[in-house]
């Protein structure tokens, strides 16, 4: 096996590598290539790819000697960080990122791992599990081309210019894998509730789920938390008004590329060309054209009836209309038709069980018709109400504070608007990133301990640059905060947290 080329430098031009491999494949010498299901950059010589996977595999095996219940999660080397995620049993995702010249702690491995988790969850939502695909496709060719397009399209969203901007210390006040909610008044909430009820009634006897977004914020969901997170992420990436008009800035952390350099994504197929390098190197071969690419950019558009359409899933042979996409629900393992209706800032997603809809797309069309007839008026009203109450992009800014509030049990987070976070100095953000890394470690240890009680923690640090960096963890809720230009006394900082907690968190983080 020509692995001797570990000596060749394993550095991708962008300084990022991402691979997915299956430990059950390629067990025999000479067949190692079979392990690799995905590798970015695809044009990296196989020897260099093997070097990454060989090291990963070696360390997974090695660490299991001591830690059989949780194998290798991260490697920190002087110049690179490797982040591991066992997405499915024996199917591993590994991301390698380069450190900066000063070797500053710019990465937080949990933040990078959440990227891996997110792309995998989204993949499973559309294509089912990787293992299931491989079982149907022992050669692996189909699985590889699915992964290739999906992950490349996903990475495209991180592309700024020619660089992949993965979550770094600058994103220390974000929490990937959570949902951002719109705060609504009581009256509006009642309206939304009745909208949901009407929507459900349109589906007749079918069990129907719905998700309603205002701008890039969640208003209502009837899905399980996991499924909500996945569908919310997809909606913000591809379906909401911001996503449809790519190039318009979004405040969501999910669309990094779109915020900083909208134009590079506006061109169709810009992503594949920039990231894929020469297509000859892609492992997909010829069957790429048959692969459905749910994350392909700029493929969704709003039809005249307000329903979003896309030709990603091909056209229905009988009518020539676009086929309705389906998604797999994590909780019930049920496949659902995905229908999206949009009115101004309001995006309404409803899911119908494939097994319950007769006549496939025709059945879906019938429900859509029902929705148009019964829901339109309500939709107008709700949209109007929410728009009136909406404070704009900086609605959740709290002056003097830069914060992130995350509720791990509900997968919900709220944070200072990105525009405000950029005013923080690098020093403050690096310090916060470090504190978060520490809290991440504590949390994961507590999880492994399976200790009945939740972690309680309070950290307040007066950093070198005089900023206060604060972390509070209590009953599954986390609050991170940076106070710059604050008074030097600890009591002042505590008081600031107390005030914030009482005012915006129902006193969850208050001590009295």
């Amino acid at each position: 096996m020509g692995l001797s080329s570990a000596t060749t430098t394993a550095t991708a031009p962008e300084g990022v590598q991402l691979c997915i491999f299956d430990l059950r494949r390629g067990q025999n010498e000479g067949q190692e290539l079979d392990k690799i299901l995905f590798f970015f950059p695809a044009d990296l010589p196989f020897s260099a790819q093997f070097s990454v996977i060989g090291l990963s595999e070696g360390l997974i095996t090695f660490t299991r000697i001591f830690s059989p219940e949780a194998a290798c999660e991260a490697i920190e080397a002087e110049r690179h960080s490797h982040v591991f995620h066992e997405a499915e049993p024996d199917i591993w995702m590994v991301m390698v990122v380069e450190k900066n010249k000063e070797f500053e702690p710019i990465w937080r491995s949990d933040a990078l791992r959440k990227v891996l988790k997110e792309v995998h969850s989204l993949f499973v939502m559309f294509h089912g599990s990787i293992r299931a695909l491989l079982d149907k496709d022992p050669g692996g060719g189909l699985t590889r081309s699915h992964l290739y397009h999906f992950v490349m399209d996903y990475l495209g969203d991180f592309l700024v210019g020619k660089k992949l901007l993965l979550p770094s210390f600058r994103d220390a006040l974000n929490e990937r894998g959570t949902v951002q909610m719109l705060t609504v008044g009581r009256e509006a909430a009642i309206e939304v509730q009745s909208l949901v009820r009407v929507l459900e009634s349109c589906a007749g006897n079918m069990p129907c789920h719905s998700l309603i977004l205002f701008q890039d914020l969640l208003v209502s969901t009837t899905l399980s938390p996991d499924d909500t997170v996945n569908l919310f992420a997809y909606a913000v990436l591809r379906l909401t008004p911001h996503a449809l008009s790519s190039g318009v800035s979004s405040w969501s952390y999910l669309r990094k590329g779109a915020t900083s350099s909208g134009s590079s994504l506006a061109r169709p197929d810009a992503v594949p060309e920039q990231l894929h390098g020469s297509l000859d190197n892609s492992p997909t071969g010829d069957n790429s054209s048959h692969v459905v690419r749910p994350l392909q950019p700029d493929k969704w558009s709003k039809g005249k009836d307000g329903f979003l359409v896309s030709d990603i899933w091909g056209a229905e042979t009988s009518t020539g209309a676009s086929a309705t996409p389906t998604v797999l629900l994590h909780q019930t393992q049920e496949r659902m038709y995905l229908c999206t209706h949009q009115h101004k800032s309001l995006t309404l997603i409803f899911l119908l069980p494939v097994s319950s809809v007769l006549n496939g797309d025709q059945g879906v069309s019938a429900v859509k018709q029902q929705v148009l007839e019964n829901v339109s008026l309500k939709l107008l009203k709700v949209e109007e109400k929410l728009s009136k109450g909406w404070g704009g992009e900086n609605a959740y800014h709290v002056s003097g504070y830069r914060y992130l509030l995350a509720d791990g049990d509900r997968n919900v987070s709220r944070a200072s608007p990105p525009g405000k976070v950029t005013t923080l100095t690098k020093g403050s953000l690096l310090a916060l990133n470090k504190v978060r890394e520490e809290v991440d470690l504590d949390k994961s240890r507590a999880k492994l301990d399976n200790a009945g009680h939740e972690k309680e923690l309070e950290i307040s640090i007066r950093a070198k640059n005089n900023a206060w960096v604060i972390a509070r963890v209590t009953r599954g809720k986390e609050l991170y905060m940076v106070l710059e230009k604050a008074n030097e006394t600890l009591l002042y900082a505590s008081d600031a947290v107390e005030k914030f907690s009482n005012r915006y968190c129902n006193g969850v983080f208050s001590l009295n």
């Binding site: 000596t7 430098t9 070797f103 640090i461 070198k464």
Partner: protein, 610 residues
């Protein structure tokens, strides 16, 4: 794969990529690939062994270092004897061993200090002339102190030699340390037999060189609660595998200290052996020094000097320390590089020749070497040692002599034939110390202990006072009733203050309060120690630190750290402590320390750092 349990070792060997030292090294990829095989194998073995290892298992889980009371291994003392016949002398060149040494050592009692240890101290207390209730108090503290303070009684020569990487018990140990050579040969392992760990050692080497071949250096691997920390020092590789939740930075410092301890015994010139022969086997050079390493590793869980990079002093009246300093200075002028008088790990006095400065880490390693080697206790010794921070390439010669059970004098020189001169110096010093009552003051101070949070003065002292009345020399009963440790007994000091450590940046010294309830059991003390260590690491982060202030509250403590240019204060409070009161209390602690600095610190030691 289907090997029976009995064949575990051979099974491992078979899958081991490079068991034979003369074997041409395979590319690391192969070795890494082979890992998969050996893993499967040993798993099989582990399962087969399962029932036998089960009993051990529980006990191992319960504590990282689980020191059994019966683990005092008699006759483990002959460190020097063992190394004398080894090539070690050759490395340093011209090592002279005073003949008296080995003779005395061989016949020496196994462990004079471990028997009647507490009793001895108790009796000297009563002769000290203090009141009776104080003695009983001292005894109580004694029990508290015993664990963290007295290493020698429990340190075994080598633990669990029957284990290897196939044993479940070995895998479950909370903290492993390994030293290996760059060719993958084992040099030291905290647990298990090095020879049986050859395959495991080769695996560690493969990981390190695999990453290095890619143009990078591996520092850390995380897996669940485990961390694997790597440190490469030329041809020497050091690895720690731990699930103790200590931060990476702390564990790395511990590896650095272990490397330093190795240099202290061998000097860096050992590298030359590897240059000549990469497959050089270093184990014989370190023969018999297991206790030194295990004692150092043990200190990683109780001695703040290991992470503070500072030393601590035995509290003594200023005049007493002056008296000791004067006589040490006297001999220093006669060609001694450093003269150090210590009591356990605490410095009584320290004097150096002009322009020579002693790094706190060197002091830690030197005192550990002396205290862990039983032979030093039983005779006067003259031993080549290297101070890695002072000069990693050269040997110095240490004349070591215990003056009483805990107090020992170290005279360091560059000359290999100074034994008789240093012996004379020691005789002079000893007689002066005896005459001026310094030795008895030392004993008394050991009994009285150091600062106690219960005694934190409510108001700043009007004068530069003494924190403990016993320290004022020649005073009769200055115990004033208001200073009695009444109000806070059992709950620590005011405002829920449980403990503190004050580190003076300028002096390279720290002072730590005595442990008092509720931090009374060794387990609680170790937990607090770890909490401090974590706080220190967080404050001194390399990339973004040092921070100025830190407040931490978790289910165990409120911890406060305050760092200035002059000092750092680390304080632990009751988790329910009030913030404002805690801050106030910290200020008072700082004031208190400043008020009594004459007694708790060695002042005027700065001539070292010209």
């Amino acid at each position: 794969m289907s090997s029976e349990s009995g064949a575990s070792t051979s099974g491992d060997e078979a899958s081991e990529p490079n068991p034979n030292p003369d074997h041409t090294p395979k590319p690391p990829e192969d070795q890494l690939a082979a890992l998969a095989l050996s893993e499967v194998d040993s798993h099989g073995n582990g399962v087969a062994h399962g029932s036998a290892a089960e009993n051990n298992h529980q006990e191992i889980e319960s504590d990282e270092e689980e020191v059994q009371a019966n683990s005092v291994a008699p006759g483990l003392a002959e460190v020097e004897e063992a190394s004398e016949g080894s090539p070690r002398g050759g490395v340093g060149g011209g090592v002279v061993w005073a003949t008296t040494n080995s003779e005395l050592e061989i016949d020496g009692p196994a462990s004079p200090s471990s028997s009647g240890y507490a009793g001895e101290r108790g009796s000297s207390a009563s002769s000290g002339g203090s009141g009776t209730d104080e003695i009983s108090e001292v005894r109580k503290d004694e029990i508290v102190d015993r664990f963290p303070d007295s290493q020698t009684p429990w340190v075994p020569s080598k633990r669990h030699v029957d284990e290897d990487d196939a044993s479940i018990s070995w895998r479950k140990r909370k903290k492993h340390f390994f030293i290996l050579s760059h060719s993958g040969k084992p040099i030291y392992s905290r647990y298990g037999d090095e020879h049986k760990l050859a395959g495991f050692s080769a695996t560690l080497q493969a990981i390190i060189s695999f990453v290095e071949n890619g143009g990078d250096h591996v520092k850390l691997v995380r897996a669940g609660k485990h961390q694997v920390i790597f440190l490469v020092k030329g041809p020497i590789y050091l690895v720690c595998i731990s699930c103790t939740e200590e931060p990476y930075e702390s564990l790395r410092v511990q590896l650095e200290l272990i490397y330093g301890q190795m240099l202290l015994i061998l000097t860096k010139s050992v590298n030359r052996c590897f240059e000549k022969n990469p497959k050089f086997d270093m184990t014989p050079l370190l023969g018999g020094t297991d206790t030194v390493f295990s004692s150092l590793i043990h200190s990683f869980s109780w001695n703040p000097a290991t992470f503070l990079h500072a030393y601590t002093c035995l509290p003594l009246a200023y005049a007493t320390r002056q008296a000791a300093g004067a006589i040490l200075q006297d001999v220093a002028d006669s060609g001694v590089l450093f003269a150090i008088l210590m009591c356990k790990h605490k410095v009584i006095c320290l004097v150096g020749a002009q322009k020579a400065s002693l790094h706190p880490d060197d002091m830690l390693l030197l005192s550990n070497f002396v205290m862990a080697s039983e032979s030093f206790r039983t005779s006067e010794s003259f031993s080549p040692i290297c101070l890695p921070r002072y000069n990693p390439m050269a040997f110095l010669y240490a004349y070591v002599r215990y003056l009483d059970v805990d107090t020992y004098l170290m005279l360091l020189t560059t000359s290999s034939d100074a034994f008789y001169h240093l012996k004379d110096c020691r005789i002079r010093i000893e007689s002066v110390l005896l005459k001026s009552n310094v030795l008895s003051e030392i004993q008394r101070s050991m009994l009285d202990g150091g600062m106690r949070v219960e005694e934190l003065p409510l108001d700043p002292l009007p004068r530069a006072g003494s924190f403990s009345p016993h320290l004022v020399q020649h005073t009769v009963q200055t115990d004033s009733p208001d200073r009695f440790r009444e109000p806070y007994i059992g709950v620590g000091g005011p405002a829920g203050l449980w403990h503190f450590i004050y580190r003076s940046i300028f002096l390279d010294q720290y002072v730590s309060s005595e442990f008092s309830p509720p931090i009374s059991s060794p387990r609680q003390q170790k937990r607090l120690y770890r909490a401090y260590q974590k706080l220190y690491a967080s404050m001194h982060d390399k990339g973004i630190g040092p921070h100025k202030t830190q407040f931490r509250r978790d289910e165990n403590y409120v911890l406060l750290c305050w760092a200035t240019q002059d000092f750092e204060l680390y304080a632990a409070f009751d988790p329910l402590a009030d913030k404002a009161l805690a801050i106030k209390t910290c200020n008072r602690v700082c004031q208190w320390v400043k008020d009594v600095e004459n007694e708790i610190f060695l002042l005027g030691a700065s001539p070292f750092s010209w």
